[in-house]
């Protein structure tokens, strides 16, 4: 925090930067304390948690974490979440980029109308039609399967993804397509060998948005999945909390370990994630 005080724009007698530093410190504490207390709480015994919820543990109880890391349950949850999220991302990218390519490069009767039809998906959340969606998924025989969650997730992420991808495809140099067509390259080959390789940044952005939403999603899996064996981690952690209702030291360790992948990915890919989530918001 001290480097805020010595920031280059602050002058010694100017009091404003001190206010600012204080303000930043308060907000930083507001954000960080709950997270730190969660991580540290996982290292404490239940008794110590009661008397000392803030500070460092007197003795570090590694058993809480070790017990969870050695349990099959934890890995099963992460595996389910990983499968669901990755399939959602892959399907979203394939389906959305194909559609976006058509809307960007091929003029045909009704294309405007179809595009506005697809972007209607931006107007309302999945929750509004969750009951009919449940019945639809049940009638399709997809209830209690990964795809019962994945397909609706893909469908709901299409609107935003197609808009972002179409804008990017349109901004690619138009001469490329004309030259390729003159050389006898088909639209489909052009899409595969020129458009997609040139569009890595936007694919990363769209993929990131779809991944974060799928990885964190709760309502759809809650409604579509019945068996514990298929639960992604947000569902699993709610079950865990139900079983160990007031053994907070275990629950905190479990929370820490389940948000750990998110935090690690965030630290390594922060640029993509921030750019993706805010770009998606702004351009949507």
């Amino acid at each position: 925090m001290s480097d805020v005080l010595t920031a280059p724009h602050s002058r010694p007698i100017d009091l404003v930067p001190l206010y600012k530093a204080l303000f930043l410190m308060v907000v930083a504490a507001f954000v960080a304390v709950p997270l730190l207390a969660t991580v540290l709480g996982g290292f404490k015994t239940l008794g110590e948690l009661r008397t000392n919820p803030f500070g460092l543990p007197t003795t570090w109880e590694w058993e809480n974490y070790a017990g969870i890391l050695l349990s099959q349950r934890y890995w099963q949850l992460l595996w389910n979440s990983t499968v669901i999220s990755i399939l959602t991302v892959v399907l979203t990218l394939i389906v959305a980029s194909m559609a976006a390519f058509v809307f960007a490069h091929i003029k045909f009767y009704g294309s405007e109308m179809l595009l506005s039809y697809l972007t209607m998906g931006l107007l309302f959340p999945a929750a509004t039609a969750i009951l009919p969606l449940f019945i639809k998924v049940r009638d399709l025989g997809l209830l209690d399967s990964y795809f019962g969650v994945i397909l609706p997730q893909v469908a709901f992420s299409l609107a935003m993804s197609i808009l972002l991808l179409r804008r990017f495809f349109k901004d690619l140099p138009h001469e490329l397509l004309e030259a390729a067509l003159v050389d006898g390259c088909s639209y489909i080959d052009f899409f595969r060998y020129v458009t997609l390789p040139l569009s890595r940044p936007i694919l990363a952005t769209v993929g990131t948005i779809a991944f974060v939403h799928s990885w964190n999603s709760y309502l759809l899996p809650l409604v579509m999945l019945n068996s514990d064996a298929l639960y992604p981690w947000p569902l699993g952690i709610m079950v865990y909390q139900g079983e160990y209702s007031s053994e907070w030291h275990l629950i905190l360790a479990f929370i820490t370990l389940t948000i750990l992948p998110t935090v690690l990915i965030f630290i390594f890919a922060q640029k993509h994630i921030v750019a993706g989530l805010t770009a998606g918001a702004v351009k949507g």
Partner: protein, 295 residues
Amino acid sequence: MAMVRRRKAIDGRLSALLLFLPPALLLFTIFVVLPIVEAAWYSGFNWNGFGTPTKWIGLDNYWFVFDSRGFGTAFRNNLLIIAVSLVIQLPLALSLALILAERFRGSVALRMLFFLPYVLAEIATGLIFSFIYDGNYGLLASIFRAFGAEAPHLLASTQTSMLAILIVVVWKYFGFHMMLFIAALQGMDKNLVEAARIDGASRMQVLRHIVVPLLYPTIRLSIFFAVVGSLQLFDLVMPLTRGGPADSSNTMVSFLYNNGVSRMRVGYGSAIGVILFVICVTFAFTYKRWFMRDE
């Protein structure tokens, strides 16, 4: 030769069209559009989801929704979340952005710290805070005990449950709005600000008459997301209160879940869904028409 090439291009276009468009259209129609249309149809029935719906009751489900006290509370709670987003979260995000848009040591790290809650799952966030608020083990309880006061059970009282949720909402989402403002500030033309400073405008004057007006489009966008986010808030409520006690902290979506989905009252739940849909679409259209015309 030219004719052949031309025909080939048209054929190529057609095959690309027929290959590339149907997957998106099919998925979207089956899983997004049809359910909404069916919700309108199902909402006329008293139906538990098995067999085919036969008990047509007209608009009764809608009257049941509007008559129930729970839905009114949920609607008010959604408005409360929007109000807090506007009165507390937006100024907080804006003032943090004004500080952190400048580069100094630690500014990027702080931006990331403030954005981190937005990336965390709502479920994890809710559980973390149900620990913080826990009357026996939580941080809040220990603060109260340190002052010799009785620990409050925020989540267990109808008076305070919504307050507890509102604090978590601010904690989780202010960083996202801050990032929107930072992105806007960094894209802003610095010359205007410098010219005003040279002409003798004070920092406050520059802020009030130049920077904030230039941010109006972003502020309108931020308000739009705050409202849309509030209308879908659900995941955060479940680990904290499940909408209770006594329906005091339901949002419209958690009300839909608790009264429609978990009891498989398809008609009733669909009616709530349709109401929510109408609110969302009406809001999106009027807001875009009135406030975001230029964008």
